[in-house]
Assembly symmetry: C2
Homo-oligomer: 352 residues x 2
């Protein structure tokens, strides 16, 4: 019934088939129209909440402020219950299936759109984790030509954030599209990208004893430190820091997106969250780390990123110790557009 | 906050992490508990609607009748708006992302559960469809050993139902688990299963001119009629009938699950829905069809399946013409447990 209404913009690319709303206006504000004749209150939560207004026929309507480019989670809120919008695709985020909206990138920003170039695969792989004692799933990007080249490839292991899972980098992150485009343009070397599920009690053990051995057994990969890189966003960035610093013998670069050890850790902070043991390692083997990591790459979504302060404090500690790193800022806060951009830039540095 | 409540059963396997409800009781009834302090009415729609009752703390609770085994779509209904339940995984069905609940199978029904056997992959493949003039996606199951065997494999092309897409057979259908188990037990021969997106204006052209050539170019498959089979459920069953009968030179078996041409087609019925031209083909080349199709296999979810009557009328016409087929009934109506069982049985017949 939505399609009969005059639509002020264009349906979002993230809408399900035939859903006219949410609709993106030329200034990237978003018009919503929801049928809820018996609700008392209908809102859209896009980081800030917008009240929709009840109109004829039981429809609630409203338009947001202009939104920034790329992918954003959102919720439809019906009488204070936050749920997925039936008009949109869903994505695992916020520890539940959540709605997402794709805001167009500015003209010329082609790296995040599917193009007429060779395409790799994203494979869903089931594996049994001895660490977690359960069947788990990883998504693995294999580059164009993988099936027939007979070659071995380097591997980027990349982790999602808190409340997300192995689907995050493939769906929200558009990892395959970003890599396909980079490889076609010879901006990145062909590589595998392993997107595993970081929701586990012991990330380091599962990565080292389950994920990496599984990948190195089941794919044609170069199974050495030089050809193995670890990266992650937010919670996955902390997992990357903890595991990467504890095992410089395993990884040749680290990518830490919108993250940083907790600045205010105390002796009471949990083991995962207390960085002091890692700072001690860095101090004791400063030269080793500076030699081992070709790229110790930190990115941040600007001052509005919730991890900004943690990262600033961490970099100050790195400076004091003498650890080399690269810091890159891209506006957008703690959001997927920043992480897509981070992957786009980080992948270009690797295995060269 | 749900986890603190005493839980009368076990969280459904289809719940998101850490969601205690929906919870499955020993008799396969399902307890729901939803936090919605400001809603006026909260219901669960599982084919029939159940009213939840408001309890302390803004929680709404209720328990359904015992549910049948396997996967069922459902909706959370808040003040008459049907949405996904934030506690559950979502699945594209009903032309939107929908909740689903996995009811345990009886003991000994192991064919639908992941087991310690070799596992194939499900690959997400992007391809450009000239027929639809857009980038589309298919899911392709490759059997265990595909990467390294150097062998060529037969292919089952299988279609989802109305309101679903290429994800249906992989997620709701558990195609990879069913095939992994069948292949490990030597009940089915290793094969590829291509799950394409049937939401297109011209299914036959897209299958024949885009999907099949793409698969035969990009995978090691036996590209001949004997090693190519078409199947589908509901809408996908009609697509299978239409395309399979129009092209007996292309397929060696057909599988039609919970489907059948419309019994009450009239001259005004759309081209896709009017079967008379296909009945005419069958009459004119009865012997050819009986010779070409090793298996013309029809399955139905019993009398409660919405396609039951269409299928009965169709089989009567087949009998009158003298077309050979096999009919298999499995109770459960027009639902995924019936289609999983159909794939499980049909796959065992193929390429032998």
């Amino acid at each position: 019934m939505q399609a009969q209404v005059q639509n002020p913009g264009k349906p979002a690319a993230s809408n399900v088939r035939r859903a006219a709303f949410p609709s993106i206006l030329p200034d990237n504000s978003v018009a919503f129209r929801v049928h809820a004749p018996n609700a008392q209150k209908v809102q859209i939560d896009l980081g800030r909440k917008y009240d929709l207004v009840k109109k004829d026929g039981g429809f609630w309507e409203g338009t947001t402020d202009p939104q920034s480019e790329g992918f954003h989670y959102y919720s439809l809120v019906i009488d204070d219950v936050a749920v997925c919008d039936p008009s949109s695709e869903t994505y695992f985020g916020m520890s539940r299936m959540a709605s997402g909206i794709e805001i167009p990138y500015p003209a010329g920003t082609n790296q995040f759109y599917i193009a007429d170039v060779p395409h790799g695969d994203v494979r869903m792989k089931r594996f049994f984790s001895k660490t977690s004692n359960e069947w788990r799933r990883m998504y693995v990007y294999t580059p164009p030509g993988y099936d027939t080249s007979g070659k071995k490839y380097p591997v980027l292991y990349i982790q999602h954030g808190g409340g997300e899972d192995e689907r995050g980098w493939a769906e929200q992150g558009r990892t395959d599209i970003i890599l396909d485009n980079l490889i076609a343009n010879k901006q990145a070397v062909p590589m595998l990208v392993v997107m595993s599920d970081g929701n586990t009690q012991d990330f380091e053990s599962e990565l080292l004893n389950d994920c990496i051995p599984f990948v190195e057994k089941n794919f044609r990969v170069k199974a050495d430190r030089v050809n193995r890189v670890l990266a992650g966003l937010s919670m996955g960035g902390i997992q990357t820091l903890n595991t990467g610093i504890a095992h410089p013998e395993l990884f040749s670069s680290l990518g830490v997106f919108s993250s940083g050890w907790f600045a205010n850790a105390s002796p009471m902070t949990s083991n995962m969250d207390n960085p002091e043991k890692y700072y001690t390692m860095l101090k004791e083997k400063k030269d080793l780390y500076n030699r081992q990591f070709n790229h110790f790459w930190l990115s941040m979504g600007g001052k509005e990123d919730i991890a900004y302060n943690n990262c600033q404090v961490m970099m100050k500690r790195f400076d004091e110790i003498g650890i080399k790193y690269t810091y890159y800022e891209y506006p957008g806060g703690h959001t997927w557009p920043v992480w897509r951009e981070s992957l786009y830039r980080f992948a270009q540095l690797l295995f060269k």
